[in-house]
Amino acid sequence: MLTKRIIPCLDVKEGRVVKGVQFVNLRDAGDPVELAAFYDEQGADELVFLDISASHEGRETMVDVVEEVAGTLAIPFTVGGGINTLEDMKRILRAGADKVSLNTAAVTRPELIREGADFFGSQCIVVAIDAKWDDTLSSWFVYTHGGRRKTERDVITWAQEAVSQGAGELLVTSMDEDGEKQGFDEALTKKVSEAVSVPVIASGGAGNQQHFYDVFTNGKADAALAASIFHYRETSVAEVKKFLREKGLEIR
């Protein structure tokens, strides 16, 4: 049986982990390569790097970071953020990433998913979906541009379309729960997970170890992603995994 995966997420800007996050006990607080190694050592099952660079130079630096990380990690890692073309995907994957994550560009032009899947295989293509609940319409809607723009797309319909275009995995972030630390959006994750045949990574809302258990059981998630809870050392990957293992879940 497959294990449930724990995935720390690093926001990387201009080649450094973004400011405002305090990795108190690490020597070089802002170095993504060192942090990647740290999380690997802690037993992370995978890593996600989100490139939030604003400049062209920053994006070029990201390629160097990916190459360096690929040289030190022996676990899979995904790179997302600012990937708009097949060329962008090629550069990141050739640098050593195992998967690329598409968000806004996939919504704008869904064929991009197909192009990537045809060229590299579906296992390389993660589609990230930023979802927000609409009370009036009683449904989740897809947001793009880092959550700034609402689209007309229903999350479940879009999830199914993304998979039919060749997405090998979905990374579903609840904008409602993100940063709230009140737990993942179990209803959202469950609904997406039941609607598609590919693995679903839940993101947004992790506040404690129990939240991971809940999203794996009630939320039917295959993997759970978290950033601040790990960055701020509120818990560690190793502690979360120990907790889940003791609760009887299959964990590496």
Partner: protein, 208 residues
């Protein structure tokens, strides 16, 4: 030096880097006359079986690999590289493989579990004495695949992993030909140890 067969199927960077970390030099090539100088070969690969065979044939690598293996030289297939060693696959219509190992490649049944089989799964050792498993714990490794091998000979199955009740061949070996369905280079310590066991083999075709 270790030769990595470059036939245009997928990311070879992580395999190269993993070998470097183990302290081994390696080279990438698509040319049989260069690859034949290697001490050991690795056939990696992601993507479809049919495309994989077409790319191998284009470069006359199919004939070369078969010849290499039949002479008892060490070969390690990884992921698609493992599947290509078998007789045929039903991926995108039936197509022939390298036929070094007996068995067919079939798709996971729809509905019972998620496809692809993607993530960390625990190995069960069928042949714990095989040299690829030397000092390797019966732990978790990282899989990504939608098709799996139906091996005809049970004694090629060195290790398997249970996925939805299906005993998925994870490590297979026959004489000098070894292969893993999972990615050892992405499987942390467990995978790295297996890679090390492969590259540290003494001489050529020492294991029968």
């Amino acid at each position: 030096m270790i030769g990595i067969i470059d036939y245009g199927m997928g990311n070879l960077h992580s395999v190269t880097k993993a070998l470097e970390r183990l302290g081994h030099r390696c080279f990438l090539s698509e040319k049989p006359h260069e690859l034949e100088k290697a001490t050991q070969l690795i056939l990696p690969g992601v993507g479809s079986f049919k495309d994989g065979m077409i790319e191998l044939e284009k470069r006359q690598l199919d004939v070369f690999i078969k010849d290499w293996a039949e002479k008892g030289n060490p070969l390690l297939g990884i992921c698609l590289g493992m599947q290509l060693l078998f007789e045929k696959s039903e991926e995108n219509g039936l197509s022939n493989g390298l036929n070094l190992l007996p068995g067919h490649v079939t798709r996971f049944k729809e509905g019972a579990y998620k496809i692809p089989h993607m993530g960390w799964n625990r190995l069960t050792f069928n042949d714990p004495t095989h040299p690829i498993l030397h000092d390797v714990p019966e732990g978790y490794v990282y899989f990504v695949h939608s098709y799996f091998v139906n091996a005809k000979e049970r004694d090629v199955l060195v290790a398997t992993a249970d996925y939805g009740g299906e005993q998925v061949p994870a490590v297979v070996a026959k004489k000098s030909v070894w292969a893993t369905q999972f990615h050892p280079e992405k499987s942390s310590e467990v995978g790295m140890r297996m890679l090390r066991n492969y590259v540290n083999q003494k001489g050529v075709a020492t294991y029968e």
